[in-house]
Amino acid sequence: MSDPALGLTMLGLIVVVIMMGFPTAFTLMGLGMFFGFYAYYNPAEAWSDNKIFDLMVQRTYGAMTNDVLISIPLFVLMGYVMERGALVDKMFYAIQLSFRRVPASLAVASLIVCTFWGIASGLVGAVVVLMGVIAFNPMLRAGYDVKLAAGVITAGGTLGILIPPSVMIIVYAAVAGQSVVKLYAAAMFPGFFLAFLYLVYVVGWALLNPRIAPPLPPEQNRVPVPAWMRSFQAAYSPNMFAGLLKALTSPGKAQAIEGEEGRISYRQILRHLGYALVPLALTTGTFALIWWYVVIYQTRRADDSAPEGLEQLGAPPSAAPSAAADIGPATSFYVVFGVLAALAALMLVRYYRRMDADRLVVVKLLTASVMPLGILTFIVLAVILFGITTATESAAVGAAGAFLLAFYARTLNWKRTKEAVFLTAKTTSMVCWLFVGSALFSGVFALLGGQALVEQWVLSMNLSPVQFMILSQAIIFVLGWPLEWTEIIIIFVPIFLPLLKHFGIDPILWGVLVFVNLQAAFLSPPVAMSAFYLKGVSPSHVTINQIFAGMMPYMLIVIVCMIFLYIWPGLTLWLPQYLYGG
């Protein structure tokens, strides 16, 4: 048998053996070792001097010193700590209350919690089971359509592997030799865009056909307003915000009110005013950050890069002043920023004018349950995306921050810390050993010429880039049925990567499409695991077929999302290009 044919045999064998259920990392090592031994075989030297042994140990050491993979344990640790530290049921309760007037409020809240939770953790199984208990049964009890309820949770549960900071993206970056930071920036909009499409679908369906998502009975939607707040409103003003401000200057009436823990103190007034100010602070913070990055930070950076008095050799000395004028952002930015800021200000004014006790309690609940996790992920992502630190550094800071938050919220004890650490070790070891095996395997595959044969074969088909795109995504979609994402990204994606250049496809765009694609693969009956996780916690009258039927529309939405991403590559590529340049 010729060498390239042997390479293809190797590829075929690996698929067969993976299907037999043997741990994939060792299958790759074993196969790589045998085929490599044959490829390097030289009758003149002793068998123990075969170069395959050098290749093997060098590939292993390469994985041990890989500067991309090193951020995996840190992000995984952050995820596990957050997952144990944040309270998902409180989060769901608060979000559901704040969306109580939206159609299909429970479904919307489930999606938002899933998206949010997905930022923290990348585990499909645990998310679906948890959300199944927290949201699925209440939805069924409220009379929601089984298919709607099932679809929201299974689709939302798989979002976690797509939305940054996700481990899948780091592994792809390591495999494809791309920058983690750029991939994070690229996956940012598509991830939230997909979640947004899901939301539009749910709300749209509920608007068209209100029977599938009846509103909750009023007693379940009532915001638990404490009694003192009512008397407070009576004493000052029905508007809590105005009332709290007044109470700041004349606390006498407030201090006469009996609260749950005795009289209302001045500190309590201050604290509630703080809660009331959270929406304002968030909005101004966001706008200030954008302003800082676009106007101040970038201009300063541009100034730094061209120090004064340093003239380019042979450059006309008059060129410098004209360049300085171009540094600031375009006028259109100021216009858009101004309009957005005005809109936000308008909404805030409207919001604060109607700040009744209900609203204050909801803000308080949201702040307590969502904010810590939100602030941490926001900081981690912002620090990575703005290119302030590397992915590894921000992962480490994020993990430390997760610990601090969990200690602060008193949700982390010694047992949970240990669990998070051990789970991190297991997950990291699983991914990285797979990487060791695959590094050897792909080395031998290329050595035998299998890679060249695949390339030749694909090129001989004379595909257009669109056809190649569809073909490659279809193959990955089918592979996503029986395999986990780790195996797909580490073993099969590298086969396509060298071909991308030939077809002029950006590996970042292609990678993001793969991430989105795997969402669809994980939602396709009859192999989708999330459906079975949900079945495990649902009441017995829900059949697996109902769950599958509920998932189908979301699968179509994912495919629609992929088409959008392909037609408008800007959705993916704009952010990395804007932040880091071409």
């Binding site: 043997f22 140990v57 144990r84 089971v129 199944g132 590894t392 993990a399 695991m529 079945k535």
Partner: protein, 222 residues
Amino acid sequence: MTVQRFLHAVDAVSTWVGKAAAWLIIGLMLLVCVEVFKRYMLNMPTAWIFDASNMFYGTLFMLAGAYTLAQNAHVRGDFLYSSMRPRTQAGLDLVLYIVFFLPGIAALVYAGTDYAALSWRINEHSTTTADGPPIYHFKTVIPIAGALILLQGLAEIVRAVVCLRTGEWPSRLKDVAEMDVVEEQLADSDTIDEADRKAAIERAQKIDETARQRGMGGDLQT
């Protein structure tokens, strides 16, 4: 039962080493955090941090390999596998451990020993930075991790043989699992229905198992 004791003894060794190595992640986290503080706040970067963090990370995942194997947590294409009978699973495993695992890992130990020995002989230092830290002990991790995982692999082979004879997989040491988070999240919740909560906590592990089999092995065929 002596075989079972042997299996648990090997599991215990792998688990102990793996869990000890797992704590390196805390070290790595603190190391990088301190470096971030020093570099960005005090403007005094440290040259050897890059090598040191590699050592933490590399040692962590290599030494946890045997622990992961002992907990059956290495990713496997369990789509068909998990719906087979235990005897069939054990037969497949036995053959594949002998055909792929043993030669592959033995080669890793052999090659790793040479690699580390050479590194010790030449007193190798990292070349990432000028005057880098020594790396021969880091390279020694490869044969050690290989030997541990080989030992655990032998235990797995014994497991497969036992299973072939008795028709049942021998037990593993109990360890933390990803689904444990369900219990932790739901245990003290006051917004969720009591009965739902209890049922989910009780069945979490079972649900995980059944879902991995995609309903083919269990009671989900409704």
